[in-house]
Symmetry: C2
Subunit: 691 residues, 2 copies
């Protein structure tokens, strides 16, 4: 379709604007990209898989937002299957598959099969069970889901209602849902896809193993591997009701499911029995192994979420920085000439203050993601050797960071979106999908408010230990901090972070450390000394967790600066990004730095101006190149506003005028007629019939 | 379809729980509802229209989230037309139609016709033009849109690129889009629906009215009424390209459009000429009337948005309060017995701190909405009498409040959603539609960050006037405050808001007033005395606007308490809600109250505990009845979590198991096959072909 719009151009040239932005910064983009994205050959892999997906018609993203939610599952399944076939063709390894799912940018209906289903079998199945199941899993002959969460219970796993009663006579377990709230719920891959599932249920064994007993002994939750659908018909087996729970904010391609059991029998060897066993003859229940091994996979998932958050936020920031560099609106009120040209909106401090601290946060998230990764693998290696001493720190750190980092990223997407004004609300923003999907992250794998209790518990215990053994040598960094705090708090003078514009990186870090120590001590006082009710302290404990996690981000960033492998140019900008992240974070809750005696009042008074100066002088000139360093493929971004070539308006026009199927339909707008579509077969009535 | 799930119940009875919540509060719900919702017979009208819509199959909401975006426009148009027919049948007045659109809870594709299109004709057309157009508008024989915003320009209306050149020979205007960015964009009702549009374009008149002139005189933007589609075929007229811009975050039912003109000719009388005229013979351009009249409708729209924000936030809070009262999770760590029952999640302070201050905010928004309404009609009456003195205040107040109140409501929806954990992410939350739609509000009708400049400008001018005429009698409340500030600031002692748990309502209000005055003075100093660049002050000016608007909310709430018509019980709770809103607001930015000398440090130290006590002791027991008072019909809420009868789990089950069309399809999950749907005609391939 050709028309007069073909001859029109935007009044300003986005490509030239971005090129000019890039030309005026001396950042070495390639060096920085490699610095950020070399682990597991990320950059090379991203490039290679992107090239493959871009060629596949099934992986085109242009029409996704025009599909209904049921259609999105169809598409998701087709893509999940096609990814397996592409992998076979191109010889993909496991990381390649993950990259393909990341670039496709939707949760695969196969996702739970190769994550929680496979991992649970690997971790909790006996050797015999593994021999049975792993070949079926690895060949994708069966497809598994993980059925733990229920309609009535999520976070409190002990409250699950689904039961598994041992039948001593038949030597089988009877899985049953006594209430509607016992229905499994939210379990991904289960709604329409899976043939099998891990089912977590409360184990009940009849008293004295008697077939006629009416009393049962409760042994808590155990896991079963259960076939849930017929291998030929793909229909649920008798005694099971399964389905997809329906539309959600995001995860349109994923079939989050529900499942009810009506006295459904599974054999004795369905119970995963590496750590727990029921003696089939006596009904005796035994448990072995360190309890910590059971939440290893949760910690792993949280650590992964922490690591991933930088990419999510970087994506939103990439789009926002590019678009707001190109978009012009209003000229400077104080301009010398009357007809001064319009300014890029990123030149306005009110736009900078929303986007540039988030840009700095992407780098803070990067270094903390690295630290989290290292802590995880260090702990895991120790655990393999039977040393469980690092588990508490690992668990606390991954919980606190999961909460803080996903909050940063989830809120950051929306902040970037709003900073882009009207077009930020449109489909061309490229943020609709990621926003809707990522809104799950503050809730899943431990609600962001709930799990901060675990961090606070840990810190209170650490402080109690430090108080009780003030002169023992420090056992770790936290103990060292707390002991330093205890021994110096009477003579402490607040540090000067800022003085007449000069900034001390080390003082910044000291301030975050001190604040965390003071609040840890207050929590210890409240709970241990004053014996205040736990629930009455919850809000404070949540703040403590965030304060402690912010300290980690600042420390990890600071440490990275000390041993930076970057060229001077890049290292200098990284230094400014550290300052911007830290000072802006300080400025978000300045009173806490004063009341804890962490920082001088005069430093706090200078914060606002220091942040402004960092943004306008130090970061703004490099903003476009800094987001370039995150090396987000245009295919991933799928954003008119965030295109690397700056063709914002051309792309918006193309999406609207060339790609919108609604524009192919002519409507009957006469209100007295109940025909909707003009001159088509049924006048559009089949659509209305779907209600 | 009957199955064993029919016999199952939830393990706890949501209906009984809500009844118990209601029984333990002595709030008089009916009295409070009438207090909040009597204007324009809101309650009666809501009940009456709800009863009508609930009976109409076309207005069922159950399947909306399963429709594609193009289908949602079909449905939206069908409903818009049906509403007209229902209105004819039931004799609806204008308020009834608005109520029907509000309850249907989607933006009608007819919306712009009866708002901006009709209003612009009423306000800017000459009497002759009105005679031509109003009968066509009132009979809905034509359908109008309002085409101002363009692809390249929104906020800066002066930057619009669409041109209207006067042709002295033909005595016509030639409307033309010289660039792609000149395309009209975002204009509601225009994409597929409208037959006509108001087109805002830059008026260019040839020098000396010469047909051969190559120089043109620019006269700024004027408005034209233009037929854009053929009355029979509904196709765009030659020289116009129109369409729908495609998917967006929200407004799925609305056809936001784009429109380009290729030297499109309109007659002389297409230009709306109540205030502006082009002499058809001489080409002379004349303008009359007070410029303020031109942004009257913008102020009206903002005032409406401010008033409406309470209902949006109340809706999210209603759902959150009811669901978190019913949902149980974990027992009290400090409970005396080991097997204590699980607590309603609303009993946890970490849930309260997210929801209950927002509950208080709904009432704060109510009283300020009322004040905004009164200010608007008072100013309007004055303007009608030729008194323009209140325009600056009206403009500033409506801008500042639009920014603050829509930020409260937009953020509040998401805060409520996250506080509801996993089910908050599901379609049963009832928040998906309102969230997606409302996210537009921080941007439209003046971006929330941009328009705060207007408030700051106003306050700086007012402060300058107060400084220059310190002894003149106060002209209004702001002038009075500023003069009080100027005369007492040397002897000011901070007020004590909180002392050992006792709270002073008046001191709270004084604190908010003082803080606003200090920051206004600082802004005046920065800009007028120190002559600092406007753009360098933008962040501070944004904060000033919010501080000033928060002062308005506190003042209006305080004033309402002084003359409350409520019974003692209700008045007492309202008193606590005032305190919760104000003290929580203070606790969100405590340092500003200290550094401005507004409040004693000891008051600030007590804030956290005071807020906690208000929530747990004063508001929590009444929470369910307080949201009941907002009288949200279940039909409007369309929420399993927020149902007034508490049947949360039954409804979630029903939506998933009985209503999800995806569960009627059986899939082929074998990855080696490219069939998607098992045993259906084309295996689901027609869906994949839509890509």
């Amino acid at each position: 379709m050709r028309d007069f719009s073909d001859t029109l151009k935007p009044s300003s040239d986005g490509t030239a604007i971005l090129e000019a932005e890039r030309a005026r910064s001396n950042i070495l983009v390639d060096e920085l990209s490699k610095h950020l994205l070399s682990r597991n050959d990320f950059l090379e892999r991203q490039k290679r898989i992107t090239a493959i997906l871009e060629k596949e018609p099934l992986f085109r993203k242009g029409q996704q937002l025009n599909l209904s939610r049921p259609e999105r599952y169809h598409l998701g399944l087709a893509r999940a299957k096609a990814q397996r076939r592409l992998g076979r063709e191109h010889g993909w390894d496991e990381e390649d598959y993950k990259m393909a799912e990341y670039l496709t940018d939707e949760m695969s209906p196969f996702h739970l099969h190769y994550t929680m289903f496979a991992n649970t079998i690997k971790e909790q199945a006996s050797d015999d069970q593994k021999k049975t199941w792993m070949p079926l899993i690895d060949s994708w002959k069966i497809l598994g889901a993980y059925a733990q969460t229920e309609l009535g219970h999520g976070s409190n796993v002990r409250g699950l209602e689904c039961e598994a009663r041992w039948d001593p006579k038949a030597k089988e377990f009877i899985i049953h849902s006594p209430y509607l709230t016992a229905s499994k719920w939210w379990n991904g891959t289960m709604g329409r896809t899976a043939t099998h599932a891990i089912v977590v249920a409360q184990l009940l064994i009849p008293k004295d193993n008697s077939p006629t007993a009416t009393e049962f002994v409760h042994h808590g939750n155990v896991s079963f591997v259960v076939q849930i659908r017929d291998e030929k018909t793909h229909q649920p087996l008798p005694g099971i009701i399964i389905g997809d729970i329906g539309p959600k904010y995001g995860y349109t391609s994923m079939d989050n499911g529900y499942m009810l059991f009506d006295h459904f029998r599974v054999p004795h060897d369905a119970m995963l029995s590496r750590y727990v066993k029921v003696n089939p003859n006596t009904g005796e229940f035994t448990r072995k192994g360190h309890p910590a091994t059971l939440y290893g996979s949760l910690t792993f998932v949280r650590a992964n979420i922490v690591q991933h958050s930088r990419l999510v936020l970087a994506r939103a920031v990439t789009i926002a920085v590019r678009y707001t560099s190109i978009r012009r609106q209003f000229s400077d009120r104080d301009a010398a000439t009357k007809n001064a040209s319009e300014l890029p909106v990123l030149d306005y401090p009110t736009v900078q203050i929303r986007i540039l601290p988030l840009l700095a946060t992407t780098f803070a998230l990067h270094y903390t993601g690295e630290a989290m990764y290292n802590l995880y693998y260090r702990s895991r290696a120790a655990i393999e050797k039977g040393d469980f001493s690092s588990i508490a720190e690992l668990h606390s750190t991954s919980s606190g960071l999961k909460s803080l980092c996903t909050t940063y990223a989830a809120n950051g997407i929306e902040t970037c979106r709003r900073a882009m004004g009207g077009h930020g609300f449109g489909g061309g923003s490229g943020l609709i999908g990621i926003n809707n999907d990522y809104l799950s992250k503050p809730t899943v794998e431990g609600d962001n408010w709930m799990i901060t209790q675990q961090v606070a518990s840990y810190l209170i215990k650490k402080m109690e230990a430090a108080v009780n053994t003030p002169s023992a040598p420090a056992t770790d960094k936290t103990d060292e901090l707390f002991k330093m705090y205890l021994s110096t708090r009477d003579n402490r003078t607040p540090v000067c972070v800022l003085s007449q514009g000069s900034i001390s990186n080390e003082a910044i870090m000291e301030a975050f450390r001190w604040r965390a120590a003071v609040l840890s001590y207050q929590a210890y006082q409240d709970r241990v000394v004053k014996k205040r009710k736990w629930n009455s302290l919850l809000i404070k404990l949540h703040k403590l967790s965030n304060v402690y996690s912010q300290k980690l981000l600042v420390e990890n960033f600071y440490d990275a600066l000390q041993s930076s492998p970057l060229s001077d140019t890049n290292a200098a900008v990284m230094n400014d990004l550290y300052r911007l992240y830290a000072l802006h974070t300080m400025d978000e809750d300045p009173l806490s730095f004063i009341t804890t005696g962490a920082v001088t009042s005069s430093s706090i008074e200078e914060l606002e101006d220091a942040v402004l100066l960092l943004m306008t002088e130090k970061i703004r000139p490099h903003a476009v190149k800094l987001v370039d360093a995150w090396a987000m493929p245009d295919y991933l971004l799928d954003s008119a506003l965030g295109r690397s070539d700056g063709k914002v308006y051309e792309d918006l026009w193309d999406r609207a005028h060339r790609q919108n199927p609604l524009n192919k339909v002519t409507f009957n707008v006469d209100w007295e007629s109940d025909e909707i579509v003009k001159g088509s077969g049924d006048g559009g009535r089949h659509i209305l019939a779907k209600l």
